[in-house]
């Protein structure tokens, strides 16, 4: 039962040792601070406090950064061990494949949660100190941190899936870059194109919001925006959020990690070291 914890401990050690944790946390802190200061201009015009604006900017940041950081750790998780020849040895021990995957996931998610909390937390504290914060904006910040961790979990699991399917760590890295591009950039571009073609027809009215929320990155964005009026105003994205029931985005973001992990587990079963 405690075998997956042994894997978790070792993976945490590796993340600390190879400086991944330090670098990821630094990236988060720097980007979050930069956006908080750069995005503080519209505070007066919108009549919201600085933390709210900061959360809106950081939401946009997290859509790009959380999947990227998650994929950066997870692409190597299975393919790297196959390349090193250490997976066959690991699998010759009594720990099952599910335990191995769960152990890695726990460690990687903890590292990601640490980087997110420190990064957004620092920026949030700075924004609150300089521009004030209310109860609502503090809740928005907490929501941002928690949903960012969920979004990270989705892409950790998707990274394992690719890592199990790829023919080596290099191929897994390439696939991960492609996956990131599709989910974070191309998906939205495609939807935008479809909406423009549709010219406000039935697709835009009824199908588009659901297709959008099916993408975990967009679900993350919608959840954060729809939940706080101030954030929605600051980000200028209210239309899509209003077209959906309140549970759509949270449901998508909660189902995705489970689904992706199950897929990764299935793919890992078929890996022959």
């Amino acid at each position: 039962m405690t075998r997956f914890l042994a894997i978790t401990r070792t993976e945490m050690l590796i993340l600390r040792r190879n400086r991944w944790l330090l670098v990821a946390t630094l990236i988060m802190v720097l980007f979050a601070l930069a956006l908080t200061f750069a995005g503080s201009a519209p505070t007066g015009t919108l009549g919201v406090d600085m933390l709210t604006v900061s959360v809106a900017s950081m939401t946009t940041l997290s859509v790009y950064l959380a999947p990227l950081l998650a994929l950066m750790i997870s692409f190597d998780a299975i393919a790297g061990d196959v390349d090193r020849g250490s997976l066959s040895l690991l699998l010759s021990y009594p720990a099952g494949r599910g335990e191995i995957l769960l152990g890695k996931f726990t460690a990687h998610l903890a590292a990601l949660a640490f980087a997110m909390t420190v990064g957004f937390g620092t920026a949030g504290a700075v924004a609150a100190f300089f521009g004030g914060a209310g109860a609502e904006s503090l809740i928005a910040l907490t929501r941002l941190i928690l949903t960012s961790i969920l979004l990270g979990a989705v892409f950790l699991a998707l990274g394992y899936l690719l890592s199990a399917l790829a023919k080596g760590a290099t191929a897994a890295a390439g696939l991960s870059a492609g996956l990131w591009l599709v989910f974070v950039v191309l998906y939205d571009l495609g939807l935008l194109g479809a909406v423009v073609m549709d010219k406000g027809g039935s697709f835009t009215q009824s199908v588009f919001p659901w297709v959008m929320v099916a993408n975990p990155a967009d679900a993350f964005r919608l959840w954060n925006i729809a939940a706080t009026e101030g954030v929605a105003m600051a980000s200028g994205m209210t239309g899509a959020a209003q077209a959906l029931p309140f549970w759509a985005a949270p449901a998508s973001l909660l189902i995705w990690p489970v689904l992706a992990f199950a897929l990764a587990r299935l793919a890992f079963r078929r890996v022959e070291p």
Binding site: A6, T10, I14, S86, P94, A95, E272
Partner: protein, 297 residues
């Protein structure tokens, strides 16, 4: 119940259209050391991975004691040293071995095991800074965890210097002494010759030999080489014995094991004409060539 530590019975495995394991039968008793020889691609590593349950088989059966490969029970009973093993470079030897100990569920004296394989100096150094031989030793240390019933060593001597090889075989003897059946896939024929109880030879997925060295020699009927040094006239000696003249003063004779004593008596009968006799029984290398390369088998 079976008294065998490992039973492999008529195992077949296909990879695409090629049959990579073809009707393999082999069994190991507790404490037995068996060398598994064969060219690259003969199927040695595939057989080992089948025993570990890491790759499926398409016919026959494998049992570790009484349990099927790949089950939790079987994995608790087996130890494995992969070919050219590697570990995460960021971990230290101690951390890596601690992980394996926790996974195996065995109470282990990690520093003691690392000292046993000669890594006590490198205990807290990162594996990234280890040499190939040191990684191999670390791999060997994890084999010693938890007193396995079956140990599968894939090319354990690759990358080891001669002294380390001696240590390795001492550790293998120790394992066998505590009742572990040891299967050693190897290329290092001369070492295996002296250090194993039985020799199995694979060729293109088939088991072409499985016996003790003595029996294999007899079966193969390889000749014994007699080198007779003449005291004065090698040409006369060659004519008398009917062998080939070699390097000036000597005559070389080849004879079957049955004719060996007869040949020796004839040489002894020549009296002063013979200065010295040297007898070389067939080496494992000759045997290996006989079994692993013979096209007609």
């Amino acid at each position: 119940m079976t008294d065998k530590a490992l039973t492999i019975d008529q195992v077949c495995k296909d990879r695409g259209k090629t049959r990579v394991l073809d009707d393999i039968t082999l069994s190991l008793a507790p404490g037995q050391r068996v060398a598994l020889l064969g060219h690259n691609g003969a199927g040695k590593s595939t057989l080992i991975k089948s025993i570990l349950g890491l790759t499926p088989i398409h016919g026959g059966a494998i049992r570790i004691g009484d349990v099927a490969p790949g089950t939790a029970q079987a994995r608790r009973k087996t130890a494995y040293l992969p070919e050219a093993v590697s570990f995460h470079p960021a971990l230290t030897g101690r951390e890596q071995l601690t992980l394996f100990a926790q996974l195996s569920g065995a109470q282990a004296d990690v520093p003691g095991l690392l000292e046993r394989v000669g890594l006590s100096d490198a205990l807290d150094r990162r594996i990234g800074a280890y040499s190939k031989g040191m990684r191999q030793r670390l791999g060997l240390a994890q084999v010693l965890l938890g007193q396995p019933k079956v140990a599968l060593l894939d090319e354990p001597t690759s990358g080891l210097d001669p002294i380390s090889r001696q240590d390795l075989y001492a550790i293998i003897d120790e394992l066998a002494g505590q009742g572990t059946a040891v299967l050693i896939a190897s290329h290092a024929l001369t070492e295996v010759e002296a250090r194993t109880d039985r020799i199995a030879i694979m060729r293109k997925g088939r088991m072409v030999a499985d016996d003790t060295l003595t029996n294999l020699s007899a079966l193969a009927g390889l000749p014994i080489r007699l080198k007779v040094r003449a005291s004065t006239n090698p040409d006369a000696l060659a004519a008398e014995l009917g062998g080939n003249r070699i390097n000036g003063a000597s005559v070389e004779l080849l004879c079957s094991p049955e004719d060996k004593m007869e040949a020796l008596r004839r040489i002894a009968g020549l009296g002063d004409a013979v200065a010295d006799v040297e007898m070389t029984p067939p080496k494992l290398e000759d045997l290996y060539r006989h079994y692993a390369q013979e096209g007609s088998r």
